[in-house]
Subunit: 202 residues, 2 copies
Amino acid sequence: MATMEFQAARQPVRRTGGRSARVRAAVIDATLAALLTRGLDDLSITEIAQQAGVHPTTIYRRWGGRSNLALDAVLSGTEAEIPPPDTGSLRGDLLAVIRGIFPFLRTPLGELLVRLALRRDLPEYEAARGGYWAQRFRAGAALFERARARGELRADVDPVLALETLVGPMYVRMLMTGEPLDDALLVRCVDLVLDGIATRPR
Amino acid sequence: MATMEFQAARQPVRRTGGRSARVRAAVIDATLAALLTRGLDDLSITEIAQQAGVHPTTIYRRWGGRSNLALDAVLSGTEAEIPPPDTGSLRGDLLAVIRGIFPFLRTPLGELLVRLALRRDLPEYEAARGGYWAQRFRAGAALFERARARGELRADVDPVLALETLVGPMYVRMLMTGEPLDDALLVRCVDLVLDGIATRPR
DNA sequence: CAGATAACGCAAGCTAAGTAGCGATAAGAT
DNA sequence: ATCTTATCGCTACTTAGCTTGCGTTATCTG
């Protein structure tokens, strides 16, 4: 044994910017387009491959299935962070929060993200789902701390439950009843969460 | 022409109780079982047919696809009506409402119903969805009328929005965050909707 | 009991999803 | 500039979903 080529189990060399990157970009773009027009379940790998100018086998090899492909495409298109607001009042902050979420949810990409998050038959999403929503809801914690310091918040209020109650009707209408949903309703949601529906505190 | 058999464009003769009925019952049962174990998307018509002792072709002919089959099965298994409660107080009524919904949602059939309602790629469901949820939410109207007569309800409260706000967190937790959900949380949901989170009414 | 026929079973075939093997190409390293 | 090899394209194949056509059975009507 003259030359002992010690070759550690190295991972494949990245080819950033080369053909691989071009192929990936083309496929992701085509997948997003297909997702927005045809939905998740009617996704045709062959059609995406044609649209991207790529052979279907390539997609099957790189992504392995439509779940991974869709997840990769959506997460690639959703990098925006929503900064927590600080308007000086609890009502203003809550209004800013819900007004920050609402327009995004009306976006085709936003609705797609929500629908992906609801799927339970895609094991690839189970890991991403919990972390995504937890982060999104925890971001509002500071908001409630400030309100409590200002004396605007009842003592026994759970911030997470309050946020869930705030945005709950929005999701219920979007996903189930399909009833109309506009900015005026968002204001009513905020005021309902703030004041409740009872005539006087018990 | 001796006998003029006037034969209007009659619809196929119903064969209630015969082989057709038996086949239908067997297929519906097998479909429900398959839905509860394998989910909607991994549904195998061939497997259901074997389970029901029926040829796959029969299912394709009668139902035409898995969407119709699943919808028929679920609606056949969900005939229970939830009577609107009347406990004498707004808080008691709201608690009864949410306590009536919650256990059903934890049922496999309940969760299945919710997930079916969330699907937008099944045109068969679009018609059923709106009516189902509208009825479910309108059933609570009387509840609020009584509360208003007792002077327990603020004047400007929208009953539908109030109900959506009440059950919103429950759905958010079940569908998105996956956070724990028990009876104690239901009580907190009711109290939050009743009293709000602000220290004093504006 | 005796037609008429709706509904079912069966076999064959079509389409699309997904996989495997193999040669070709181009990105990256020496 | 040249070599190595990760990645891609191509063909062929397997599998499952679904449809079609035809003969058979069981139900309903008279």
